[in-house]
């Protein structure tokens, strides 16, 4: 380039003219656009405008929409996913999420839970040999569904097909299993299940009823293939220290507003129809003798009588009995109970 500089003389007219012409073009178009944007202004949703600002503006069409403005419009009014912008990358997604207020805090995260322990496996009782479209929705419509329990899982995997995150799998017993890591709580499986066996539960609640049968106890036992039906006996409701369980139509249900994950119900259930994910991983209570004043409050709240000790004497936890429900911890006036 520099060599060239020396060898060529610069002609003013060769440069001045193009500068003039293209500059004039620029001025004209600049003015037209500026004026037009005022004259032909149309009101749009401020969020749409914000997103347009965030989007790259390359109008490449990779999102499948008609340009960036079209995509912004679709995000706000058409329910389009926010991660379709290829040139923008993850930064843009995050910014759009902010504008749309779609950031959900992790503590509120919900995951799907299947309320059936059957799952169409070999042991399930069948009413007939089903031959037909292999989807639950279709099978449920043929003679009331192929499994003898009219509440339970038919095992034709509508939920798995509905899950775009591959979060549902089948375990060795033929049960449908939800991978809580992968589950985003989108609710697609909830909609897909024709028997309404799936619902969304806060991720930090780990005790679930694994049955949806509203049959009476005897019938439920007869028809259930997994032999873990809820028979509506009510033992769990009685055991629950926080009254989170209620029995309606021969079926227990847990109120997750109240549930404290103690797992008492699961261990008490005669048909093992309550699943406790924390079993074996719970910490146990320990009373620090230093601060214990022997008020007996902890012993009173303990649902399994694992704490013993006389009034005004130091109390002790029987490790063999403690189930780690943590009920005693908040009750201790001296805050000397710890979970270890």
């Amino acid at each position: 380039m520099f060599i060239l500089l020396q060898t060529t003389t610069i002609s003013l007219s060769a440069i001045g003219l193009p500068v003039l012409i293209i500059g004039a073009l620029g001025l004209i178009f600049g003015l037209i656009l500026a004026v037009a944007s005022k004259v032909f202004a149309v009101e749009i949703d401020p969020r749409v405008e914000e997103i347009i600002e965030v989007l790259p503006g390359a109008n490449c069409g990779a999102c499948g929409q008609a340009g960036c403005a079209g995509y912004a419009e679709q995000i706000v009014n058409g329910g389009e996913a926010i991660d379709k912008c290829a040139p923008g990358g993850s930064d843009v997604v995050a910014q759009i999420a902010q504008i749309m207020g779609m950031e959900a805090s992790s503590s509120d995260r919900k995951v799907a839970v299947i309320h059936c322990s059957s799952g169409g496996h070999e042991n399930t009782n069948w009413k007939y040999q089903y031959e037909g479209v292999e989807t639950c929705k279709a099978a449920a419509n043929v003679a009331g569904g192929p499994n003898s329990c009219s509440w339970g899982c038919m095992g034709l995997n509508d939920c798995m097909r509905a899950c775009i995150f591959d979060a549902i799998s089948i375990d060795s017993n033929g049960m449908r299993l939800i991978d809580l890591e992968k589950c985003t709580g989108c609710g697609a499986c909830v909609k897909a299940c024709p028997r309404a066996l799936i619902d969304l539960v806060p991720i930090n609640r780990n005790v679930y009823i694994k049955c949806s049968s509203k049959d009476k106890g005897v019938e439920a036992r007869q028809v259930c293939g997994s032999l873990h039906p809820c028979i509506g006996c009510g033992i769990c409701a009685k055991k629950c220290p926080v009254d989170a369980i209620s029995i309606q139509n021969n079926l227990a249900s847990i109120d997750y507003e109240k549930c404290i994950n103690c797992g008492l119900c699961a261990s008490a259930c005669p048909t093992k129809s309550i699943l406790d994910l924390l079993v074996g991983t719970r910490k146990q209570a320990e009373i620090n003798p230093e601060g214990c004043i022997g008020c007996t409050i902890c012993a009173k709240v303990c649902p399994v009588q694992a704490i013993s000790g006389e009034l005004k004497k130091i109390h002790e936890v029987d490790k063999a009995k403690c189930i780690g429900c943590e009920l005693c911890v908040p009750k201790c006036p001296k805050k000397v109970i710890e979970m270890v």
């Binding site: 600049g30 656009l33 500026a34 944007s37 790259p56 503006g57 390359a58 490449c60 040139p87």
Partner: protein, 196 residues
């Protein structure tokens, strides 16, 4: 550290063709031979780097209403420079790339990067981004061109690499072959991703 990250992301993670699927027109049109792909890629890299630099420099003085026209003008200038320089010094390549040199202007990658990256980052990062993305683009072009040239002409960079008995599969360097080759390459990448 960040500089290297911006520089290398275009190779695999944010590869403009295989991952972002941008700028397909030149990708398919010029990859009939490796040399064309290389030339196109480098031309685009130059434009990308320069426009990113300038856009990043002027980011504070561009009024939002005419942002896009200004960026287009900047990009178009560099494209024209490439066009002229290439015509002067690389006439053969200039001829075979033909129409697609001026069309670099409308390559989504370039305006996209200017908007999405350069207008929000400092000059150094923007240069890194431009070079990285450009080289990623070039790399992809060379990969596609390699497949097409070997299959369709039996050569690589003009050198014969197949036995003489190989009757070149012409379709690979024709239009349908361009689409199908890229389709299969993308499917291959998807497959590798799934395996992971």
């Amino acid at each position: 550290m960040k500089f290297t990250k911006e520089l290398t992301k275009g190779f695999v993670k944010d590869n403009p063709i295989f991952v972002l699927v941008l700028g397909l027109c030149p990708t398919l049109a010029v990859t009939t031979s490796v040399i064309n792909g290389l030339g196109m890629g480098l031309a685009a890299t130059f434009v990308l780097m320069c426009s990113n630099t300038i856009v990043s420099m002027i980011k504070n003085i561009t009024p939002p209403k005419i942002r896009i026209p200004i960026y287009i003008v900047v990009i178009a200038s560099f494209v024209t420079i490439v066009d002229m320089v290439m015509a002067a010094y690389l006439p053969a390549l200039h001829k075979s790339l033909g129409l697609f040199i001026p069309l670099i202007v409308v390559n989504c990658i370039i305006l996209g990067r200017a908007e999405a990256f350069a207008s929000k980052n400092n000059v150094l990062m923007s240069i890194a981004d431009g070079i990285g993305m450009g080289l990623g683009f070039t790399l992809s072009l060379v990969v596609i061109a390699t497949v097409r040239e070997i299959l369709g002409a039996g050569t690589w960079l003009g050198m014969r690499v197949t036995p003489l008995s190989y009757d070149p599969m012409l379709i690979a360097i024709l239009a349908p072959g361009a689409f199908i080759t890229l389709g299969f390459l993308m499917a291959l990448i998807n497959m590798i991703k799934e395996k992971k």
